[in-house]
């Protein structure tokens, strides 16, 4: 009788290697770490993917469209974004150089804009299977409807709509912070988990009795992902906060190395591959 494939819920930080949209070395490392397991996502993780990658990319494309050159756009984007999307800006710059569009902002904006459409398409292709949407996220399932003939206008419309917070989200019921025995409350009381930023933020929201909209939800994403994880699935993550979160919820997790760490492995052939969080396997 054939052995059942292990089921992996891929957390937001582990998406690039899961999509094979990173360096071949890192992709190979990821494939080895998950062996022949089946990959799953959730609507909530899809929401985080859209917030972090798709919206950032759309923003870069639209600023680029309104600037004469990439150099002008880069100054504005670095001022607006701060350090956060440095990776996105580097990838865009590399792409524009490679495709010879760096001095033509019209073509460059389209070159970048199409990445948003293609990345989301790739995500939906790789993660056709999703776990139940327990948090009832209302924006994670949104479609990016574009037409190549009106690409930037369509991306703009998507971005604007995506930024509008849902004010009556059922995530408040899912968390049940008022109930002493709720799992979310358990995270707040756990010695290790409560040190994580997402749990700290959750604690503040709970203390203030804040109605959680998409704006607040963006600050407690890790906690929601961990709470949504089904018991029989293993969470694959790069972000080390999940070691504590999964530990607190007694759920299986696999902490894989970051891109930088994997690059270091190659310099040190004695290093081993992925490290599995204690008690997870």
């Amino acid at each position: 009788m054939s052995k059942k494939k292990p089921k992996f819920l891929v957390e937001t930080s582990a998406i690039p290697p899961a999509l094979k949209a990173t360096t071949p070395r890192y992709t190979a490392y990821f494939n080895e770490a998950i062996a022949d397991g089946a990959l799953y996502s959730s609507l909530y993780i899809r929401k985080e993917f859209m917030r972090r990658w798709i919206c950032d990319t759309i923003r870069v494309a639209l600023v680029l469209k309104q600037c004469t050159t990439w150099a002008d756009a880069l100054v504005i984007l670095e001022q607006d974004f701060g350090r956060k999307p440095k990776g996105t800006l580097d990838v865009v710059q590399h792409l524009l150089r490679q495709t010879g569009t760096i001095n033509n902002s019209e073509a460059a904006a389209e070159e970048v804009g199409r990445l948003a459409w293609q990345w989301l398409k790739l995500f939906d292709r790789v993660f056709a299977a999703k776990v139940n949407n327990l948090s009832k996220c209302q924006i994670g399932g949104r479609e990016l409807k574009v037409d190549g003939n009106s690409l930037l206008s369509d991306l703009y419309a998507f971005y604007v709509e995506f930024q509008k917070p849902i004010t009556d989200c059922e995530v408040n019921d899912f968390l049940s912070l008022a109930e002493a025995k709720s799992k979310a409350r358990g995270l707040l009381d756990h010695f290790e988990a409560k040190k994580c930023d997402s749990v700290e933020n959750l604690d503040k929201l709970s203390a203030n009795g804040t109605n959680i909209t998409c704006k607040e939800c963006g600050t407690i994403g890790d906690a929601i992902v961990a709470l949504e994880q089904p018991n029989s699935w293993c969470l694959v993550h790069v972000d080390k906060a999940f070691n504590a979160l999964c530990g607190a919820l007694e759920k299986e997790n696999k902490h894989i190395k970051s891109l930088t760490a994997v690059a270091k492995i190659d310099l040190n052939p004695d290093s081993t591959g992925s490290q599995v969080a204690s008690g997870s396997e």
Binding site: G100, S258, A261
Partner: protein, 208 residues
């Protein structure tokens, strides 16, 4: 006394001294949008009274416009797609060579040229999406897939089927994305940056 030279003066006008002078210039923009200069000079004879000189300059863009028209750009796309499709099939001659990358260079250049030609086409956006995906298959080592005959056949058929059509739709672009992914290509062509956390410290990551 020498009679002043007549210049665009209507015949039969009694008072030659007050008749207006009209001069017309036509600038016809060539399809290649090259700059041209029209230079002229004329003398206005001495008059007892002021005379009105009317200069009329007209830019004629009809000729240039037709080279940016929707039907014309569609025909440029179809013609070039036909060439590109044949170039893909032609790769079979080099499929076993270790330097295959060199022979995919003209296909990469052709795709880039097509993008430049169609850049102004307001109805060529979906075609450009497809051409970019095809172009990306000749980048970053992905050309290795062209060693396989099924890859060459499928990509050539995609180019013919989707880019030689009358209208190219977003559904066509989506179908090309799926087919290329089925063939083992990464149709996005750019690496997804590693995640950078908003407010949480974790081990340093560098972009892909």
């Amino acid at each position: 006394m020498a009679r002043p030279r007549k210049f665009d003066v209507p015949r039969g006008v009694d008072d030659i001294a007050t008749a207006p002078i009209t001069k017309s210039y036509f600038h016809e923009i060539a399809p290649d949008l090259s700059a041209e200069l029209i230079e002229d000079q004329f003398e206005v004879p001495p008059r007892a009274h002021p005379v009105r000189v009317r200069i009329r300059s007209e830019v004629i863009a009809t000729g240039a416009k037709q080279f940016r028209s929707i039907p014309y750009l569609a025909s440029v796309r179809r013609r070039n797609a036909d060439v590109l499709s044949k170039m893909v099939l032609g790769l079979h001659e080099y499929a076993d060579r270790p330097d295959l990358a060199v022979y995919t260079y003209p296909l990469f250049s052709k795709s880039k040229q097509m993008l430049e030609l169609l850049e102004a086409g307001e109805k060529e956006g979906n075609a450009r999406l497809i051409i970019r995906m095809i172009r990306d298959t000749f980048m970053n080592g992905q050309w290795e897939n062209y060693r396989r005959s099924d890859t060459r056949t499928v990509v050539a058929a995609l180019i013919e089927g989707k880019l030689i059509a009358e209208d190219v739709t977003i559904a066509d672009a989506g179908a090309v994305f799926d087919k290329l992914a089925d063939l083992g290509f990464n149709p996005v062509g750019a690496e997804l940056p590693a995640m950078e956390k908003d407010n949480e410290q974790e081990e340093a990551q560098v972009p892909c």
